[in-house]
């Protein structure tokens, strides 16, 4: 029988309301799971156990008083790039190892006000740069589906925690696929909403024009509930969309009959594993059975998306990360003068992938190269936005694999950045265009590792991607449990 920590948030919420369990029980269940598996998974960088117990007790009081929103009392984990007041926030980097923010990021502030229970901060690639979580300064995360494989990245800790029952749900960030790709590799639901739908205030920036807060859940319904709780305009973020929040759980059951589903042909080329290909194909057949029309769609400029992304994201990162100089907070390595101090601090504080991207970005923005690199990349970005607009004239949603492969072995791609970058080739276009996309598990490959299917909709089409994903989720009835968790029951 499943433990409380393995249930969905929606189920837990109704049990809490019915008085069948308490937030304290659910929280203790999660804490016990963390205790049981995290030495092997390494999902958490910091645990806030005592705070979690306090907040659970407070949530129980609120639920008893009958004034609790649906997210109250549900334990959550936050990726360690999301600022939490008085709780160390490292971004997986040596340079911020000692940094304690004086304020909360808006998504957590909203959840905290609604009675959420924070379990801790999760491991990630340093400053969210990576696709395997191996770029964390504090060691890799291990995928619960195969402890010698990566959980994906950069939000690997959040994905693994949800997959292993260490948290009921979690928040991550998605700049080029950092929620969807690890969700895919860990067999959970990962939602990246429209750019600007969730405030970025307190999200420690990697690439500002692409960064999006996203959710990790064990069901599509949970994604809808969590999104409803944190979305909506924020006066602290000038790029947040001026929009009141919808209840995204509302139209989930409307089905897919009559919907036009486009299958992105560029996402089935070489490099896609056969197991991934067949899993997606059978999911498409089920969609067709349910009454959706399935046709081939094209994003003709998608081939250039990766190159454009690796110019735009590092350019913005080179500027965003300039502030880590040892002057006021975080690591400081002394020098003879302030310039030497800054250089030494940055030399010692940043890992190799972060340095690589800072150098790439600095070069792309420098005088004489700007037009050829950054300028050109922005033009490609515009073309990709047009590709989506054009595709959505003929289709309601687009479907593709989330990532070309299932989880790969730790260390396998560590010395080959280009191979690593290809992990995000199907997720990056949605970031460049700012459109919403969700990854849901479509099955397991021959090695027993989860495959992720990505559904993409036009800007602010969250309700639509969730509706399609929900229909497919019910139809596929993916109920496999990671061997690590199955092993606990035995």
């Amino acid at each position: 029988m499943a433990e409380l920590c393995d249930l969905t948030a929606a189920d837990l919420a109704s049990k809490l309301r019915a008085g069948e369990t308490s937030s304290t029980e659910v929280t203790e269940s999660c804490l016990a799971r963390v205790e049981a598996v995290d030495e092997r998974v390494r999902a958490f960088l910091a645990r806030t156990t005592e705070l979690a117990r306090e907040r659970a007790a407070a949530a129980d009081a609120r639920i008893a008083a009958g004034d609790a929103p649906s997210t109250a009392g549900i334990p959550i984990a936050l990726k360690d790039v999301l600022s939490t007041k008085d709780i160390t926030t490292t971004c997986g980097s040596k340079i911020l190892e000692s940094y304690v923010p004086p304020f909360d990021c808006t998504p957590w502030a909203r959840l905290a006000a609604a009675g959420s229970v924070l379990l801790g901060k999760t491991n990630c690639d340093e400053f969210a740069m990576g696709s395997s979580n191996e770029n964390s300064a504090f060691g890799p995360v291990h995928n619960p589906w195969g402890l010698d494989t990566v959980p994906g990245g950069s939000s690997g800790g959040s994905a693994a925690a949800v997959a292993a029952g260490e948290a009921v749900w979690a928040l991550g960030t998605d700049t080029g696929g950092s929620v969807r790709q690890p969700a895919s590799l860990c067999g959970v639901v990962g939602l990246k909403p429209t750019y600007g739908l969730i405030s970025r205030y307190g999200l420690i920036a990697f690439a500002s024009s692409l960064d999006t807060v996203g959710t990790f859940t064990r069901s599509v319904r949970d994604a809808a509930i969590l999104l409803s709780a944190i979305a909506g305009s924020d006066p602290m973020d000038a790029t947040s969309l001026d929009r009141t929040v919808d209840d995204y759980a509302e139209g989930l059951d409307e089905g897919v009959s009559g919907l036009r589903v486009g299958v992105v042909k560029e996402a089935f080329g070489e490099g896609v594993q056969p197991g991934v290909r067949s899993s997606i194909q059978s999911a498409l057949n089920r969609l067709s059975d349910m009454g959706a029309s399935i046709e081939e769609a094209s994003l003709p400029h998608a081939d250039y998306a990766l190159s454009a992304y690796y110019l735009i994201a590092p350019s913005e990162a080179s500027s965003n990360l300039a502030r880590y100089d040892g002057v006021r907070y975080g690591l400081r390595v002394p020098g003879r003068d302030s310039i030497e101090m800054m250089a030494r601090t940055r030399g010692a504080g940043f890992g190799p992938e972060v340095k690589r991207r800072i150098m790439l970005g600095t070069y792309a923005l420098s005088a004489g190269y700007y037009e050829a690199y950054y300028g050109q990349a922005q033009k490609v970005r515009t073309l990709i936005i047009r590709d989506y607009e054009k595709a959505f004239e003929s289709f309601d949603v687009l479907v593709s694999p989330t990532s070309p492969t299932t989880a790969f072995r730790i260390g396998e791609r560590a010395d080959d950045p280009l191979a690593m970058y290809l992990s995000d080739v199907f997720t990056i276009p949605a970031n460049l265009a700012g459109v919403p996309a969700v990854s849901i598990p479509s099955g397991l490959d021959e090695a027993g590792l989860p495959v992720g299917l990505q559904v993409t909709a036009p800007v602010l089409g969250e309700a639509l991607v969730l509706r399609v994903a929900h229909a497919l989720e019910r139809e596929l009835a993916f109920d496999a449990v990671p061997p690590l968790v199955a092993g606990l029951a035995a």
Partner: protein, 485 residues
């Protein structure tokens, strides 16, 4: 400077806006608060913080742009200017680059009765940095033991006004700067205090053979902390460059530092050492798209600008252009004039007092009008008492000096010093008789036809009255006595 060279100058002026809050956060924007008290995650550039533009600051810059006859762009972008500096919290400054809010304006300035039109290339919005104090034994940057940073100034809204290279002499540069300052003052958008750094200026200068269509090698001068420094630095640099060209020395494009102590400039960094700022559009801020109606509303609410005010002074008050230039040089002086007039004083008399005695006292004390204790009420009272012959012009000058020192009311000074003029002939008669009796020689000379000799006698009477006698009455009495008996 020789006839055969022409100087080309352009100015870049930075104006701190006097908005209540900072550019991108809600912190107070005030000068002189205890260090690091007006700070928050946003202006400290803490990880995860985001800028939100201050709408009032945008309104202020549009006001400036409109006053300088600029075009207000319908689509404008913030850019990041990237460079490392310890007092810059994010190590980039939010500024503007190829799409500033205001472009293509101009400002007309008067020098020696001639109008010079100076083009305005652009007026753009940015944020100020923190302020570093280098501490340690010597007080010099290179040997400082540590540095202290005050972030109160970080994120204060800053407007940069860039002129075209239309200025042809240090005098015109000074006039342009003064006109810009009084325009900003009239717009009520900045404190424009150079000593507090709310108005700062860098100058670009080159010289070229007269008639040459091409510009010479440009030098940028920094550290210009007063109008006087601006003019001195430009004069020095103009001469240095002409001398170099005369001797065939090659000038290099560079940034030079003005040394106020020596009045000279020296190399700060060469063109090769110039920063590559790696400008790119600020992804945290949406484009600025001011709607036409809003801009027109601001245009409609613009106050009377200095040039218009001076023209009105000439037209309505009958002041001479030379006087309006002086009196209309700043908002403070022009307001002073009008307040004194409102108190009943004739414009010409107020202008005279302001441009002569009062201006002399201010120069001597090295202060500006608003810092002095003299008010429009003082000047109006002074003028009234002179007109009513209650005090003499000589006495009035002494009274003004005391008012300048103490700020006491004019009537009080006149009374305590006993400066009220004596016009009563019976009181004066005794002194006149005495003076004639005591000075037989000048009396004789006068009677012999030497009219000027009477002045000595007038002086003697004035002395006896301790300056309180009315000069004209004394003269009349003396003449009557000397010719009568």
């Amino acid at each position: 400077m020789g006839e055969d060279f022409e100087t080309v100058i352009g100015l870049e002026c930075h104006v701190e806006l006097s908005t209540r809050t900072k550019m991108f956060c809600g912190c107070r924007n005030e000068f002189g608060a205890p260090p690091n008290t007006n700070v928050c995650p946003v202006c400290l550039g803490l990880p995860g913080s985001l800028p939100v533009p201050n709408e009032r600051a945008i309104e202020y810059i549009v006001r400036i742009g409109l006053a300088l006859d600029c075009e207000i762009l319908r689509y404008s972008l913030f850019h990041r200017k990237n460079y490392f500096y310890p007092d810059m919290p994010k190590n980039f400054q939010i500024s503007q680059y190829d799409l500033p809010i205001c472009v293509k304006g101009h400002l007309d300035v008067q020098v020696d009765g001639q109008t010079h039109r100076v083009g305005i290339t652009r007026v753009h919005m940015e944020e100020d940095t923190g302020k570093t104090t280098h501490a340690g034994a010597s007080g010099r940057i290179a040997q400082a033991e540590y540095a202290l940073i005050d972030y109160n100034r970080a994120g204060v809204p800053l407007v940069e006004v860039v002129s075209e290279p239309d200025i042809r002499s240090p005098e015109v540069a000074r006039a342009y700067f003064n006109e810009l300052r009084s325009t900003l003052e009239a717009l009520d958008v900045s404190d424009v205090r150079m000593e507090e750094g709310s108005l700062r200026c860098d100058a670009n200068i080159s010289v070229r053979p007269a008639g040459s269509p091409e510009y010479g090698t440009k030098v940028e001068i920094k550290n210009l902390n007063s109008v006087r420094s601006l003019e001195r630095a430009l004069k020095y640099e103009q001469e240095r460059q002409v001398a170099a060209l005369r001797t065939g020395e090659k000038l290099v494009q560079e940034t030079r530092h003005f040394d106020e102590g020596t009045g000279t400039t020296h190399t700060l960094r060469s063109k090769e050492e110039a920063f590559d700022y790696r400008y790119f559009p600020e992804p945290d801020l949406p484009p600025l798209e001011p709607d036409t109606e809003w801009v027109e509303k601001i245009r409609g609410a613009l106050p009377e600008l200095p040039a218009a005010r001076r023209a009105r002074f000439e037209r309505e008050l009958g002041l001479a252009p030379r006087q309006t230039t002086l009196v209309g040089a700043s908002k403070a002086t022009a307001d002073f004039l009008e307040e004194a007039i409102d108190l009943g004083a004739p414009a010409a008399a107020v202008a005279n007092w302001m441009t002569q005695d009062l201006s002399g006292l201010l120069n001597k004390a090295r202060i500006e009008l608003p810092e002095s204790k003299v008010t429009p009420q003082h000047i109006a009272d002074l003028i009234r008492l002179v007109e009513e012959s209650t005090i003499s012009v000589t006495a009035a000058k002494q009274v003004l000096e005391e008012a300048f020192e103490t700020g006491k009311p004019i009537e009080e000074i006149v009374e305590t010093r006993g400066l009220r003029q004596v016009t009563d002939t019976s009181a004066l008669e005794a002194w006149v008789v005495e003076a004639i009796a005591e000075n037989p020689e000048p009396v004789e000379q006068f009677r012999a036809g030497k009219d000027g000799a009477i002045n000595f006698l007038v002086g003697q009477v004035m002395k006896k009255s301790r300056g309180a006698a009315n000069v004209r009455t004394v003269q009349e009495l003396l003449r009557a006595k000397l010719s009568g008996s």
